[in-house]
Symmetry: C4
Subunit: 225 residues, 4 copies
């Protein structure tokens, strides 16, 4: 089926953005084969744009992206949506400030997830971006709302824009899809660095007041205005 012409231009732009952001996943070594996906909320509509299921990153174009509603049902597109669409859709339906969602099985983050162990906040880079630990979400099977519920409930109790779903892998969110991709990149980097730090001893803690100061500054003063 086809959407009305008025939102056609907006959809084209979101398709282009989501297709381009998928290239960041292999470039930042967050995925192998087809095991990761990016989605974006369509502004002003209860719709999302996401990767089709099982398609190689090399073959992704704006045209191959699919449009779904916030219950994960296909609205526009010729291919089946990512099998993770239901989880993405649940996040958009329940967290209105979220404009983008990313899911990967990036190696180090998934290793923490498989032990069910949150990543402690022992790096200034981690305080900047995540404002504290990266938490663990529940074990949940694909096929219904379990994964989406686990993500939303975990994120609602943490500053972190990343959650490690147990035995599964990280989901990250952001105000935009690009911000969610950045969170996915930094999630893997802090997962790797803290893992390596702990291999030879215990990292030194950062006082909570200092974590708070770093997080506040980075969220409000970093980058170009």
């Amino acid at each position: 089926m086809s959407l009305t012409r008025e939102i056609g231009a907006v959809l084209d732009e979101v398709r282009r953005e989501v297709a381009a952001l998928h290239a960041e996943l292999p470039r930042n070594e967050l995925v192998v084969w087809t095991a990761g996906n990016v989605s974006a909320r369509v502004p002003g509509r209860d719709l999302l744009v996401i990767k089709p299921s099982g398609v190689s990153y090399d073959d992704l174009t704006p045209e191959t992206m699919v449009v779904c509603d916030l219950e994960g049902r296909l609205v526009e597109g010729e291919r089946a949506p990512s099998s993770d669409t239901a989880a993405h859709a649940y996040v958009y339906a329940h967290l209105p400030e979220v404009g983008g969602v990313v899911h990967t099985h990036s190696t180090y983050a998934t290793a923490w997830a498989s032990r069910g162990e949150p990543i402690p906040c022992v790096l200034t880079m981690m305080a900047d971006e995540f404002g504290g630990e990266i938490p663990i979400g529940p074990f949940a099977l694909i096929g219904d709302d379990s994964i989406g519920q686990g993500i939303v409930e975990t994120l609602q109790h943490h500053r972190s824009r990343a959650v490690l779903m147990q035995n599964h892998g990280p989901f990250t969110v952001g105000r935009t899809a690009k911000a969610a991709v950045k969170a996915a990149v930094l999630c893997e980097e802090v997962a790797r660095t803290v893992h390596i730090a702990r291999q030879l001893g215990e990292p030194l803690p950062i006082a909570q007041a200092d974590v708070d100061r770093l997080y506040d500054r980075y969220q409000n003063a970093y980058g170009q205005r």
Copy 2:
């Protein structure tokens, strides 16, 4: 010697596919130097197409690929076939559902192989693709059917399409050569992730019933129809 014209077009297609799939081995960091190979069964014939021995991945073209029978003897091609051809041939001769075979010495999978330790199924991605642990095959010397027998006997007792030959490295199979390459990529990724997980503790187990559900869904509902 030269094969009859009727299968020439089919052979050309298989040569192209096998040559192209070899590029995935260095791209996915599964091999160094010339230490890995992909083969495909020629549809409807007791033949396989495989890499020539000791040739750099950069120098592989469809024309350099060689054709062997299912006892590993050269049928067409100007170069000696891969020294692993006998193992590939044995697999095709004994597992009729297999259309592709891949052998590498990918780092983490080979590390598990050198300890003779199967990789436990503690990741949803691993349940999806392998349906359980990735098993160990026996120590076997190159030169006769020992490696092929070890692969076939081990795979017959497991869902896994990957086997880690002791002190040697992984062999993977698939209905197509591309599926076998995918299994090789995911085998190394789960070998790496579970290794890293175990460096700092014990991964949480996934209940067998959940492994079964994940495997069933992924084998039957994932990707494009």
Copy 3:
């Protein structure tokens, strides 16, 4: 505001150099996203050239580089300078022999930093470049001179041109910006190699007299005259 024409040509050259050297950070896998920066002192002036804040490495051109004074205030450029500019500026103001500064969160160096543990000098390559251990600087919050002071005080007591700021990451210096980038690359490499060495036992020490001989030779006889 705009600087007088006489130093325009010099500034253009420094902008080109600093922009080009930023490409070495992702190329040598020292950074993810925008998390690292290079600066250079403007010869004969109390000025430095540095990366703008939060801009992708792909988007850096000589024109986007910004010029600041040695208190970290913007002198020329349309964008906000890197949020690490105050630390760079403090180093130039207090260490007159320094012509370049690099800051990254490179993985292994940051892991040592998070434990507050200096890297012991157990490699000839490390004796050559750093002349001894790579020391730890204090934990310091961004926002005033604390980081700059910590860098300067630590470097003044060591031969090393690298310092690992606790829970934060490495800063390196050099007579030129290129030399500071080289130090950043070698800092991460020795952090990685010594980490890996210590995972399976204790590296053998190098006698101090041998460290001294290696350092002296490398600083005075290596490379082209």
Copy 4:
């Protein structure tokens, strides 16, 4: 000074080969910055071709390669030879069957070297290429024949074409410079794989008779005739 015309064509060919082989060092992630070098013996002459000191791999051309005698003295070329030239020259002077030498500080091999611990032969790939353990050479300072002597004395007591100089890094040899590069690539790969294997337990040994059989076959039957 300039050599007679008769060997000019041979030298040009060796320069091209050595320049091209240097590209394999960064491509196979064996080096950072300028920290590695390849040399080749000039056939029929007591000469070698090697990399100039401290020059970036990107700037290496056949013309920049330098020619030295077997005492390491510059014979032709406008730049200072690699500071490791004396070690290369000593190897050619004392091991007449060697046609190529490679030196790197590749990460995992150097980690074993810093502990002074030989790499045990627990992989079939390692038995194939090295025929047994990769041994440790003595700690030796640069500046005289100590490094060359340590390499030669160690290699004379082992099948291995790689030696790990203590606290320093690997040197590899081969009948050709390309074979020495292959040995450097495989040395790092087995150093990495056996390191990873030992992180989670003890690799299973391979019986000496099997190591012998694998080595004999690979040295005599592998590749194209």
